[in-house]
Point group: C2
Chain length 114, copies 2
């Protein structure tokens, strides 16, 4: 039995999420399950590339997959992943507001120099 530490799983999930294409795939699948042939036209990537990305998300237990006839249908396994992404967004918002704060301060100091 291959022993998986919580730390390994952590990194696996976070690595799976740290790619723009895979984040887009999740967003796309947030509307509901889709087969690969429905996903492909929505992305400017080769079939092999999309297949690989889907598999990475599947391996991280973020996506679920079922084979239906000649097609494979993917769907979100754990919707918690969207809470996680929203939390990342809120961190970036903090960063952006800090930037705009800095902008205001800069503005102020410039105008007071006139």
């Amino acid at each position: 039995m291959t022993q998986k530490s919580v730390s390994d799983l952590r990194v696996k999930i976070l690595s799976a999420l740290s790619d723009p294409t895979r984040l887009e795939l999740l967003e796309f699948l947030s509307a509901g399950e889709r087969c690969v042939c429905e996903i492909l036209p929505a992305f400017q990537r080769s079939q092999s590339t999309i297949s690989k990305h889907l598999n990475i998300l599947y391996e991280a237990d973020i996506l679920e997959r079922k084979v239906e006839g000649k097609r494979t249908v993917y769907c979100i396994k754990d919707p918690q992943v969207f809470d996680l992404i929203r939390m990342v967004d809120s961190m970036t918002l903090v960063q952006i507001s800090q930037l705009s704060e800095a902008g205001k301060i800069l503005e102020k100091s410039l105008s007071s120099r006139s």
Copy 2:
């Protein structure tokens, strides 16, 4: 001005977090600010490696840094990062409980075969 999209920032934060050493660094710094020379002995990595990892976390706006004399002190900039990690953990816990559920089911089916 280099325009940064929210998506880029997302990926930057998630990439910064998708490394075991960096997660350990965050855990280490959760106890409070530390200079690099305090951090080094706690890790089995070269000084240059730790410095690079710290810089990646700094660039992702996860760590803050201040130079005090000949030393550099790092600390957590946005403690939200720990909420984020906890959320990842709760996702892994779902996975682990699913595994143990599977184990129980397997156990049951095996015992009923006797």
